[in-house]
């Protein structure tokens, strides 16, 4: 009786593992259809990221199915019986070598393709004619600054930050005069479509992370330093910026708006905005 119950445990466990594999396979295979897939892509480099993601999903998916089904088979097939003797099989160097080398080869392939893509996204410099903008994180909103007509940002100094000068822009620096800025929570981030966009990131208080799900973009904004991320938007429209690094009580509300439009429209819109010279005496 006791032994029977023990045998049942093996059968049930095997069945559960098979169910797990089925449920995982169906939900992953149907994830696009069910609507729990990656957000619709809107950037150039994102296509390569998505491809590598799918490759990894296929490889790990096959291994997942293999391992869980093998486990199910083993607990089903070798569930105990009184009087039977297990096999004495302490090792098999050739077999162990096989499951050392095969994963090592697969992982090396992933390392190579990941490394190549990473160097394209992160190690390469943006082209010199890229559209440049600066985004500042502060609890719990985003501030924005454009370099203006001269294409250069004026100097900033956190000590100069005040009610009138929320980004601490040094008005003595001639490059600052034509800068265009929007205090935290005011204004949207306008960028041109099909053109490289460089975003320099700064923070006034704690670490934030500039996260645009549709662009496959995520980069921390760290106080005391400037970080950089660049991308090419491929779709016009309005997208959301979220914060992806815990930044305090209102972290979950730190929403920003990014608008992708034709370059002429962006320039036209920029020309209508007040500059530092207009706003800070």
């Amino acid at each position: 009786m006791r032994r029977k119950r023990g045998q049942m445990d093996g059968v049930v466990l095997a069945l559960l593992l098979v169910l797990l594999v089925l449920a995982a396979a169906i939900t992953v295979a149907g994830s696009k259809k069910f609507g729990w897939w990656l957000r619709p892509l809107a950037s150039e480099h994102g296509a390569a990221i998505d491809r590598l993601f799918v490759t990894t999903l296929v490889i790990t998916g096959v291994v997942f199915i293999l391992v869980q089904l093998l486990l199910a088979f083993l607990v089903f097939r070798y569930r105990g019986e009184a009087g039977r003797r297990a096999v004495f099989y302490p090792d098999n160097p050739r077999l162990e070598l096989a499951w050392t080398i095969v994963p090592a080869v697969i992982l090396t392939m992933l390392i190579l393709s990941g490394g190549r893509l990473w160097s394209r996204i992160q190690l390469s410099s943006p082209p010199p004619d890229a559209f440049v903008v600066e985004v500042w994180g502060q609890q719990f909103k985003w501030a924005i600054r454009y370099p203006g007509k001269d294409g250069k940002f004026g100097r900033v100094d956190m000590r100069l930050i005040s009610g009138d000068n929320p980004l601490g822009i040094d008005t003595k620096d001639p490059a600052s005069k034509d800068d265009i800025f929007f205090p935290a929570g005011e204004g949207e981030l306008h960028v041109p479509v099909n053109k490289p966009v460089v975003v320099y990131l700064r923070s006034k208080d704690v670490i934030h992370s500039f996260y645009v799900p549709h662009f496959r973009v995520k980069q921390d904004a760290v106080p005391g330093m400037v970080t950089r991320v660049w991308f090419v938007p491929t779709r016009k429209g309005q997208f959301e910026i979220a914060c992806a690094e815990l930044c305090g009580q209102g972290h979950y509300t730190m929403r920003g708006i990014l608008i992708v439009e034709d370059e002429a429209q962006v320039q036209e819109w920029l020309a209508q905005q007040s500059t530092v010279a207009d706003l800070i005496p």
Partner: protein, 604 residues
């Protein structure tokens, strides 16, 4: 060599009073049990905190009048407030990782198993050992005390990234709560350092005659290497914690640059927040292996015993543990791909991170091969060990996404990460701990646990954790960020779908949490009413099963056991029974490879 150094050949005088025997005990077995019970109590606190988080995430905006009665300051109007939500996130992670899993795995099982499995009478330094437990208890008390200070407990996440954690204006929990968090962690590190020194010294010096390193059970190998990892990595976090305390209270600027927090100027100078991340993860990545390795050792031992088979590829298993330990020091930067550190480092850390999957794969396939051809007894311990393999494989595979920096970009700090680490080092580590308690309970207390209740506990937990954590992968696909109090602010998050997933996850979390009460009931009931256990109820080979259940003070009576073989001579052809304890000297002829058992090959 080392095993000839018998520092403890004399039998210790057994302490008589209740206080010296069970409370201020210097007996490693009692200290191990103290560690285990304290750690499980802490784990229970962390689980209740996860319930509160799941209540908010599964049922946002709903009012629960009872919640306000329970937590008048944290849930005005019956809704958990944002500050306490973040405190719950932080304390859940901190307690689960350090104060539960690490404490139970290293403190609990190292103390109980190392002396017994190597044939020693006790640890090398019994007084230091007692001190280690009491400092751990002090750390627990300081951490729990932070629930009762102004501003509440720390809320910056278990990673405590400055400046959020270094400036009290940045967050409610960054006042008193963060200070107590740092002190608790410093105490915890002092405790683990004392423990690690003890475990390393004991394994190297107090092995009984015949117990060569090549004949150590895999539990001892895992605990030994875990102790080395802890000794080398924890002190770095100690230094970092002290530096952060100095930034907070003495105006230094290690991690804190000039800041303006909600219009207030905070005049620090030149600190770098990323420095903390390097120091933190230099510990905290080895730490996840400190958490998982003891459970890997337990799983190996339990699988072999209950499949009635030698562990497959003993040497490969030891080499894999060593390789994991070595690589674990070189992968910390994979937590920082988008942190702003130099992206060239990303390439280096990607390589080491993906390579660490190789020894993990070796271990997984060796466990599977251990089951092949076995005669599996599905005890509760065995079910949890098999559950370990399943959840470890599930969580390990998702690490391949996150270790690859371009793929990490969309997934970083989303629920995909939450799913990944809960499977690979949360759930699987806890499954290992449960397997260990069910397996060694008879040795600890001389009574058997109730198998029927144990199995019910397993089935509910095993099915439940997949319902909790598997759907989180899809939240990750959708890009849903972690550590969010609510998701209603964003249009890119499909509201109805994400809400439905969150309801399923929350309900499963409540059920799994409640199922842990079965374990508590079983534990307490069996302690007093469980059937008496004999010396070796599982017919296992390792030394502890040769001692009485529970073993007396000094473990072995007058004579120390002598070891003649490796611990995995199960189902040896021609042997009268399907197990041969390590103390049995001669062996019936088999396969013509000498009379020393397989251990003759495994040892030098």
């Amino acid at each position: 060599m080392a095993h000839e150094v018998h520092a403890q050949t004399e039998v210790h005088h057994e302490p008589q009073s209740f206080w010296t025997r069970y409370i201020f005990s210097q007996d490693a077995k009692i200290i191990g049990i103290q560690y285990l019970i304290t750690a499980f109590v802490m784990g229970f606190v962390a689980m209740v905190l996860s319930w509160l988080m799941r209540l908010q995430l599964g049922f946002p905006g709903k009012t629960f009048p009872w919640l306000e009665k329970l937590l008048p300051h944290a849930a005005q109007g019956g809704i958990l407030n944002q500050d306490f939500y973040l405190a719950a996130v932080t304390m859940h992670g901190t307690i689960m990782i350090f104060f539960f899993i690490t404490a139970a795995g290293t403190g609990g099982f190292s103390n109980f198993l190392i002396p017994l499995q190597i044939g020693a009478r006790d640890m090398a330094f019994p007084f230091l050992n007692m001190l280690s437990y009491w400092v751990y208890l002090a750390a627990c008390i300081v951490l729990i005390a932070s629930f009762f200070v102004p501003g509440g407990p720390a809320g910056g996440g278990w990673t405590m990234y400055p400046p959020l954690s270094s400036v009290k204006e940045a967050l409610m929990g960054s006042g008193w709560g963060a200070t107590l968090w740092l002190i608790a962690l410093a105490l915890f590190i002092a405790s683990t350092t004392m423990g690690s020194l003890n475990y390393i010294t004991t394994v190297l010096n107090l092995r009984t005659k015949g117990m060569t390193m090549g004949r150590l059970p895999l539990t001892v190998w895992a605990l030994f290497i875990t102790a080395i990892l802890g000794l080398l990595s924890f002190p770095v976090l100690f230094a970092a914690a002290v530096m952060l305390l100095l930034d907070r209270h003495l105006g230094t600027s290690f991690f804190t640059p000039y800041l303006v927090v909600s219009d207030k100027h905070i005049p620090h100078e030149g600190g770098n927040p990323i420095l903390w991340q390097h120091l933190f993860w230099f510990l905290a990545h080895p730490e996840v292996y400190i958490a998982i390795l003891p459970s890997m050792g337990i799983t190996s031992e339990v699988l072999s015993t209950h499949a009635r088979k030698p562990i497959f590829g003993y040497k490969g298993m030891v080499a894999a543990i060593a390789a994991i330990a070595l690589l674990s020091f070189l992968v910390w930067g994979h937590h920082m791909f988008v942190s702003g550190m130099n992206p060239w480092l990303g390439t280096a850390f990607m390589t080491t991170t993906l390579l660490i999957a190789v020894p993990s794969a070796i271990k997984t396939f060796n466990w599977l091969a251990t089951l092949w051809g076995g005669n599996i007894r599905f005890t509760t311990a065995m079910l949890f060990a098999i559950g370990f393999i399943s959840t470890f494989a599930t969580g390990g595979l998702t690490g391949i996404f996150l270790g690859n920096p371009p793929v990490d970009i969309p997934l970083h700090d989303t629920y995909f990460v939450v799913a990944h680490f809960h499977f690979v080092m949360g759930v699987s580590a806890v499954f290992g701990l449960f397997a260990g308690v069910y397996h060694w309970f008879p040795k600890m207390f001389g009574r058997m646990m109730n198998e029927r209740l144990g199995k019910l506990h397993f089935w509910l937990t095993f099915i439940g954790v997949y319902f909790i954590f598997f759907p989180m992968h899809y939240l990750g696909f959708l890009g849903v960020p972690r550590r969010y109090y609510a998701f209603d602010q964003y249009d890119f998050i499909p509201q109805a779908l994400v809400h439905n997933i969150n309801v399923v996850v929350s309900v499963a979390a409540f059920i799994v949490g409640a199922a842990q009460l079965l374990f508590v009931i079983n534990f307490i009931w069996s302690l007093f009413k469980g059937p008496k256990a004999d010396r070796n109820p599982w017919k296992a080979n390792t030394l502890e099963w040769q001692a009485p259940s529970p073993p007396p003070h000094g473990n072995w009576g007058d004579e120390l056991p002598v070891v003649y073989r490796w611990p995995y001579d199960y189902s040896v052809p021609g042997a009268p029974e399907d197990f041969i304890p390590q103390t049995v000297p001669t062996v019936p002829a088999r396969r013509g490879d000498g009379g020393d058992g397989k251990g003759g090959q495994a040892s030098q």
